[in-house]
Symmetry: D3
Subunit: 245 residues, 6 copies
């Protein structure tokens, strides 16, 4: 249906080059640099011996996330949120999404009263930073959980499944997978899809930027996303199996 290649040379259903580096920094319990083309996100997982107030004494854990972008991660410099004194609505939306996505695959009762805090910081951005954050953060979280198991702090693995995310969108009337920045800023509609390793949906977020989209187009986009996430989950699996940690 969609044979011509994109300006970036990729097929409509082709992911960018992916590179994942574990133990990227020496201190965090899980530390993953995920590179999807020119989008590079550092995902650090910290294990904290506390839970949010609403969970105190409930004998369960929590998973949460914060997201940030270095001021010059992008073509032009954006203001530093710490200097302005507040996080933008976009930042808050993204970090809430990352947190919900990861919580969907963790059994909190097996974590004990501790929090896995994911910090996803974008070193450089070329579109798809929230999806790369989720995919990378899952590996960082898996490494942090492995660390807890190895130390004997927990005895059962609370990880129920993998989770990964990808963007899809209608560009010039055609569905494409894994949009880079120039595609994203020019597209009619784009979606961010979060799915588990088992293939069910965690989040489906589609937005018509320019043109609204039909049910048929929605279905084509979901088909593409399923393909992409299948590949990402395989990469997650292989990464954990490798000795690269």
């Amino acid at each position: 249906m969609n044979t011509q290649t994109r300006p970036n040379g990729r097929q409509h259903n082709e992911l960018r080059q992916i590179k994942i580096t574990r133990s990227y920094t020496p201190y965090a319990e899980g530390s993953v640099l995920i590179q999807m083309g020119n989008t590079h996100v550092l995902c650090n997982a910290s294990v904290l011996d506390k839970v949010p107030p609403f969970l105190k004494g409930k004998e369960q854990g929590w998973v949460t996330a914060e997201y940030g972008m270095l001021p010059r991660a992008t073509h032009s410099r954006s203001d530093r949120e710490a200097a302005k004194g507040k996080q933008t609505g976009r930042t808050q939306e993204i970090q809430r999404l990352i947190g919900r996505s990861l919580r969907a695959v963790v059994d909190m009762t097996k974590l004990g009263e501790r929090t896995i805090h994911l910090d996803c910081d974008v070193i450089q951005a070329d579109g798809g930073t929230r999806c790369a954050s989720i995919t990378g953060a899952w590996i960082a979280m898996a490494d942090a959980i492995e660390h807890l198991l190895a130390k004997g702090d927990i005895t059962e693995n609370p990880l129920k499944d993998k989770v990964a995310a990808i963007s899809v969108g209608m560009v010039n009337g055609k569905p494409v997978l894994d949009l880079d920045y120039s595609e994203d800023s020019g597209c009619d509609a784009d979606m961010n899809i979060v799915m588990t390793g088992a293939g069910s949906f965690v989040e489906v977020q589609g937005t018509a930027e320019g043109e609204t989209f039909s049910r048929k187009e929605l279905n084509e986009l979901l088909d593409l996303a399923e393909q992409g996430i299948t590949t990402l989950v395989t990469i997650q699996e292989q990464t954990l199996k490798s000795n690269t940690k």
Copy 2:
């Protein structure tokens, strides 16, 4: 497929009782109280003779929204955002969604250099406040545009279509339409769907709260949402035709 009634007595595909009052307050260019069961939202549209900095001199207008909830709109009192000194992530997410949804059906070049600012304030909340905000705000915006046309400030109608929103969700494994608070807080997955009068999608936001959802379930939820929005759009149409303003 789904014959039993819900705890609230509604069919699985049945909307709550809807009541829309135009010109609810005397000052705003458009002022709509939308009541969907026990969810009551006041949507005021203000016409402002300015645009955001990034649009200055571009000979086009803008549509934006802010959302708030009175502290005791809910079962237990929540903190007043103005007193705490910041809006929650949830508030920011919702007001960004309302703004995007309305912008999808407005031709900004026909508005002139002015902003339609929607204030959606929840007087009482029983689930579905963001969807009610969008559906009600569209009417308030239509009245504000009517006001601009009547005054001769603009000559062409910038409204391209209607837009309305509804929630759907998997409750006890079954898809239901227009969740109230007790259904929403207990459901496995819920979606907020925003569609135009022409039946295409503006926003699709689905979240697995407890259980992730399959492609088949996603399709059932989208079917339900389409039904609900068709009804809402008809109500919007009838409301504007009536003399009640």
Copy 3:
């Protein structure tokens, strides 16, 4: 002394049309919509099982208030305080006044260690919002106390008296009662008077906006205010006796 009617058609000593609706929203322990002409304020009383830090362990309760105005309650839109990240000096002044006024008629030792928190939110404003807030909040507080007595949470009624408030001012050199916005913004001096049902003063706040005022004028204003508050207190009494809750 003052026979001509005002631009709004009222006599110099005539209150606006007053309408009070109890149980306006379904969740708050006391919920009152007070309408004085075009000024509409929703007063919700919440019972909270905590007291401020300085009262912990002192076996007494507290009464406090917050005040807000919807952005488009007025002729032109004002900024949303939650979005700006702080309450104006005017808002703080008003909510402190409401809190002090209500505390003057409550025996805190009979409340137990709980707080009655009044939220006064102005839906639409045509002058006199702080006075309407006090008069309406007293009824909401009375309903919340009734609720506590009915549940058996307290056994003695902590309410010592009624309290109501009204504005008076010198308009074109003549004293008038219950100023609306156009009178208020053009007046020489105005006062907000808070009195108990027994007729003694709780607060007297007079400000010369344009012209300073003499002792004789002050006395005429106080006379007018006493008349107005006598009427308001009677309305409060009748409202509580009615079955409308």
Copy 4:
């Protein structure tokens, strides 16, 4: 009526010892240290060549005030507002009062497009700081205006009258003048009265702290305040005539 002396040895109608130092600091256009007993307030008047946005191009000036209290001005240390990141409601209320009081005696059209900004900083506090601020700030403002006249920046004196302020209150059922901290914290009701040199009212602010007050008591308090302010205005007059600047 009230013959016994107070714990502090003063008669019921006796002001504290007053000392006023002009040119207290070398830089401000007007700089006055006012000492009323143990209450010491430094009032600096700065002439700024700008007006607030709402007055731009209106060919008139403005007078405004800010108020602060050093953290250890009082018996126990209070938090520094700059460190907490916001001014309390009390601070805002007081600085708005000072500004309004001073504006009542200035003809803004004779000031030109400039602002007289009063900074009232409490070095030590023993009650009555807002009243001392107003009385002292008027002198600082008069010196700043004198400075503008001397430089030829303005040709007509915009000062219409003097303005001074004093507190009165019911202490143990008896009216007293110029309350110190121990009287103020134990009193039934207290008022802050602001009057012009001509003897008319600018502000009347009475609050029942413990017991509400009757019309008769209100009148007694106003009588006392008039006496006190007559004295203060005389002191202001003498201060300006002296060579001490």
Copy 5:
């Protein structure tokens, strides 16, 4: 080496006129007004019965400082930090310096679980406010400690030494001591030196404003600072011995 006098008439190694007033305000446990020429700083020491969270239960005390400048302490008015809602970087830098300097001469284990909180507020500023703050705050702290010893709250004196500070700088290529504002704003490089009574360094902070400085110049500046601090420490000693408290 440096025989000509400065524009202010002082020799290159001459301090400004110094005047120290103890018990300047009546409430603080230590209250010192230090005047170095036209730089006047009020240093209040408060004894608080608490320690910061990181010291709870560690059986030791803490010393900390806050710094502020009255808005019109300087030639032109600067914004009030409390009104802007945050302290500048300069303010934070200075108050951190004061705190560190004082902590260097206190044995925290002898203080018990209490904090000595220094408030250094600049009444008028003519350069060198941070150094005057340190020199004055040490005396206020010594008085507060004397107060604790006199009350028997502590039994051993936690003061290990004196500490004082002075500025030095290269002005027109020559090293001078104790810069006033006009020297400071025109100088090539300036240093703030903090030393103990025993003559060792606590802080050395040198900054090239215009011209960088050589090792030889650095040594000359340090020589000058040592001289100045020797004098300041003697003055501290004499002040404490006098009966002026």
Copy 6:
């Protein structure tokens, strides 16, 4: 004088392993990752076509810096400044230091009305992050200036000299160069020294953490720093000459 090696195996006058990567990210006009042992800082230089308000119309440029640390750059996670809504005093102190240091070697009149904005973000921290930031930022700034020259935006090179920084400290009574975190947190006194390529001082900041230090020790520390900076400046020179950009 100091022959034994340190716990980290280095000689007392030995720098950590240094690696500098230019063009680390693709968008910034200068982008340098500097690694000094386990301290990694990304220094991005952005060219902005504006100057701060106080320089408008003065026909000169500006250089400024911001500093941040990723939350899990360190052994235990620290709060994200953007989420807390303000930068710590430490952060502000450091970014002011970086800005001043770089400005010391730039001729602002040759920059035109533009700002070089340095963002120094610590990816991982093992002591010495402010010094690494300065040394790395200078290279990023040099690359940004090269970019301006290459584009013809400026014609004369505004760079007057190199600038680099290093820490020194007394550890167990002995002076050592380039402290890592474990040395820094256990040392008696430490200094951060900033020098130009020509060997003169830009900043000298010494702080006694535990023990105060003598003039002799200060001299030994300065000797060490001079050695270290000579090496760093040579590395800067070689880096710019290489083709690695």
